[in-house]
Symmetry: C2
């Protein structure tokens, strides 16, 4: 295969200087229409397209965005494996990024230093942080001076970076209210980690608000934390719940994955969902419609979230806009079969 033509060859073919070719390709300065035409034709004839590596080096802009994945035991695998969430998100990012002429790199992140080096050595134009990272990472990243968008982060960092989130409070509220309407009063709340996950905390707030508004007394003993999102952890809380003396009749959960794990554990003990326990998840994963019973859940559009994040990021890159914005995407209760009137 004949190799890719360079800008020089295009210039020669068009009878102009490389600089001129660069000008027309970048739409910069005023090039006479005639020479512009000649250049464009040369580009077309030679099937020229620029070398991004070279552009990256001279412009110090790579047209590359990076997605930081949280690592568990040094690999993003486990998070990917149990949290189908991420995968859809990444697809959303890839789609808009490709359409907007950016490429997307992914990495599991190690320490902050490694992360900064990754950005620097590849000249990344922007970053998306998917998930929760140690605080010092954010501080480190702040000094990088490139647009960064955070996903599902609250408080502390919100004003330092752009942020895409979902109406978590409302989600928790919707889930709990649904159960309450069905006549449930003893409603458990299953979180991952209320302290370190602000997302969980918000949903928890919503849950509490629903109780409060309907005059149901909040019972701390009905709150559980799993510290991880896997089916297995769902199973484990279910066992805890069964052992406790404060038995709920309804269960609000912070993730479909957890909800599915819980259902499984119950079913293994021949306890029926929704007859014995009503369960509501969060996310609406594609699997959730196909479990038995299908899962009532709070839906968020994760693919949309990915697209939104990419658009926001690329906007910031292209306009060098320093305004950080935080965007809140809607949430919707999807009623299926895992919940039932008491």
């Amino acid at each position: 295969m004949n190799k890719k033509p360079t800008i020089k060859e295009v210039a020669k073919y068009a009878g102009v200087s490389p600089a001129t070719v660069s000008y027309v390709l970048n739409g910069v300065k005023k090039v006479s229409n005639e020479t512009k035409k000649r250049v464009l034709e040369a580009v077309d004839q030679l099937n020229y397209y620029p070398d991004f590596t070279a552009i990256s080096l001279s412009k110090r802009k790579s047209n590359l965005i990076g997605i930081m994945l949280p690592l568990i035991e040094d690999t993003p695998a486990s998070v990917f494996k149990n949290n189908f969430y991420y995968t859809e998100f990444v697809s959303g990012v890839e789609l808009v990024s490709r359409n907007r002429k950016f490429d997307t790199m992914i990495t599991g992140v190690g320490n902050p230093e490694e992360c900064r080096q990754w950005v620097k050595k590849r000249n990344l134009d922007g970053l998306i942080f998917l998930g929760l990272f140690p605080e010092k990472l954010y501080n480190e990243m702040k000094t990088l001076n490139i647009p960064i968008v955070l996903i599902d982060t609250y408080e502390k960092y919100t004003n330092l970076f752009s942020n895409i989130q979902v109406n978590d409070e409302l989600g928790g509220y919707l889930a709990a209210s649904h159960l309450i309407e069905l006549g449930h009063k003893d409603i458990a709340f299953i979180a991952t980690d209320l302290k370190s996950s602000p997302v969980d905390a918000k949903r928890y707030q919503g849950y509490k608000r629903a109780l409060q508004e309907t005059g149901i007394k909040f019972n701390e003993k009905l709150t559980y934390q799993t510290y991880d999102i896997t089916f297995e952890h769902g199973k484990k809380v279910a066992e805890e719940i069964l052992k406790s003396e404060q038995k709920p009749t309804g269960i609000v959960t912070v993730s479909d994955v957890l909800a599915i794990g819980i259902m499984k554990a119950l079913q293994m003990k021949h306890i029926q969902v929704p007859n014995d326990y009503s369960i509501v998840g969060f996310d609406d994963l594609s699997i959730s419609e196909y479990t038995t019973p299908s899962l009532t859940t709070v839906r968020q559009d994760i693919f949309e979230k990915g697209k939104y994040a990419a658009n926001l990021l690329i906007n910031a890159i292209e306009s060098e806009d320093v305004e950080h914005q935080t965007v809140e995407l809607p949430v919707e209760l999807i009623i299926r079969q895992s919940t039932k009137a008491l």
Copy 2:
């Protein structure tokens, strides 16, 4: 933040030329131990790490590998969404790639031309093709002259590229044999697409071999094709099966996703798995242990597959090894609750 030091600054600090710094960093030529030490110290002091963009431009090697994802309706989303498969695979690739100092880019692929441009403009060192692509793409890619590893491809391209696959024939055999041992004789085979998917075809062969070896007559009417891998498509075949007059008692499937869709459809009609139908999946997704009933399936280690692919690819890149190899990873029957003696 002070900006990243360049090789010049390191050279100055060490009192040598940039060339020398480059030599020691690349372990090339013989640099006296003493100056080497000085350089290394400078590197350390200044916290220097090279700019990959520059290296990429001058070496024409990017330390970048690309993963091509199949596109559905212009986005990888849907395939990602229903095929949890890919996500684990990508994690495996990312892990070894990172450990071996490569970065990984992902893209949905459009047409062959777009694909070649992607490789060229980013100077990608190697490519992994995940899934099935149109034939002309392979031909086009062949002219790129970079190492490429294909996943789950058979025949035609096997000798043009490296290939990682799984013992599909055995997988089909294992699944069918298991059912046969349980006393099933009318065993359906649910494929995606026997014509265009060689993977399916191999599993089908294995299934037939199992029938043959035990003297069960193969019945073509028990073969179904879904033409896509989604829960929904699983549901649809289940309905077809229920409508047909040739009812199986056991069902062998080419994917857990399909199997789960089938189970769902049956359960919605109050048909019991495994009492009325025994079902075996393929892949062993993490969800498959958590469905009710949990799914008997043929396990393949997809994460391992990703790691293997990345290692093979990077080996080829680094040794400029032109030998294409095809590697076959093992497969294992995991017996759970969706199958039962007749």
